[in-house]
């Protein structure tokens, strides 16, 4: 139950500058971000699992730098709970 409220956000990177800003975010360990897909080029999106405690700050950072993002998974724990329930049901 450690992923309650965690979100996975997707950034469709538009420029080299945005890649640089996202890399800076990746280097920062303070927000405890989990990059599922890393900032590399403008052809591959960047997926970031953001802990609930860092959501506000991270979204603020992205907005402040005019980086568009969407929420790919709005509450990770909900999906994991569904996954677990399905596994238990299958096991029975």
């Amino acid at each position: 139950k450690v992923f309650i409220g965690d979100q996975v956000i997707r950034v469709n990177v538009e420029s080299e500058e945005q890649i640089r800003l996202l890399r800076a975010l990746e280097q920062d360990t303070y927000w405890d971000l989990d990059f599922w897909l890393h900032p590399v080029n403008t052809e591959i999106p960047v997926d970031i699992r953001v802990p609930y405690s860092s959501l506000y700050a991270v979204k603020d950072y992205l907005r402040a730098h005019n980086i568009q993002f969407s929420v790919m998974i709005s509450n990770l724990q909900e999906l994991l709970d569904e996954e677990k329930a399905e596994m238990e049901e299958n096991n029975m």
Partner: protein, 310 residues
Amino acid sequence: MERSSKSFNFGAYHPLETIYSWMDDLVAAHPNLVTKEQIGTSYEGRPMYVLKFSTGGDKRPAIWVDSGIHSREWVSQATGVWTANKIASDYGTDASLTSLLKTMDIYLLILANPDGYVHSHTSNRMWRKTRSQNSGSTCRGVDPNRNWDAGFGGPGASTNPCSDSYHGPSPHSEIEVKNVVNLVKNHGNFKSFISIHAYSQLLMYPYGYTCKDAFHAAELDSVGRSAVQKLSSLHGTTYKVGSICKIIYQASGGSIDWSYNLGIKYSFAFELRDTGRYGFILPANQIIPTASETWLALKDIMEYVHDHSY
């Protein structure tokens, strides 16, 4: 209780014990084709089993397939299970697979990182690495796909034990990696090495540790594009094809770079489908579609390897 591999639900995620037990059922159902061989144990002492599909002979030309080296990528292990069953059940009815298995063997390591897989089931669904202890750090685990002796410690791998891409203290320091290295080297006749990952829909070939083209890049690209065409024909899933460095990022210490440098020309890595919405949490109802489309690509590569001996 009567054992049966037919009652297994391939459209579900399973814990390690269930998969290991199912392997026994598969072997029991296809005793003349499938054997389960232990290639070593993991850091926490779990056995590592490879399924060998063989119709006889000793150290025949062989194809290596592993899945789930990154434990949280559950659809890869599930695809490995489905694929094992597919190979066993299609042998004797699928002409090209049957022909291939007359002269070649297939080795399939479904759980390439058993400790990590168990940890992802019991403690942390997002766990990616091995579970080894790192001297001088409270953080555990090494990225087993940065631990191979191929540009080890170079760009795209971390020196920080707390990072998800920590390369480890030395090449092949992880017992899970070393077990595969030993088997592949001792065998000495692998012609193809395929690693199955998730997600982001890519089919990649060497190199990752350098952005320079591999000597066989043109051929590998052509083989990859043909395979992806087959894959896409089933559900329309779109894949990108290219070298690791050019289509994702520079990453050193990866398995297919190691296998390629060892002389295994047809080295590929898959990143399976995610539909763009779920990442590592692909719903179980997509396991079979994922595995089915992946099989078309895998079979295409295997057929090419079979037809282009070297």
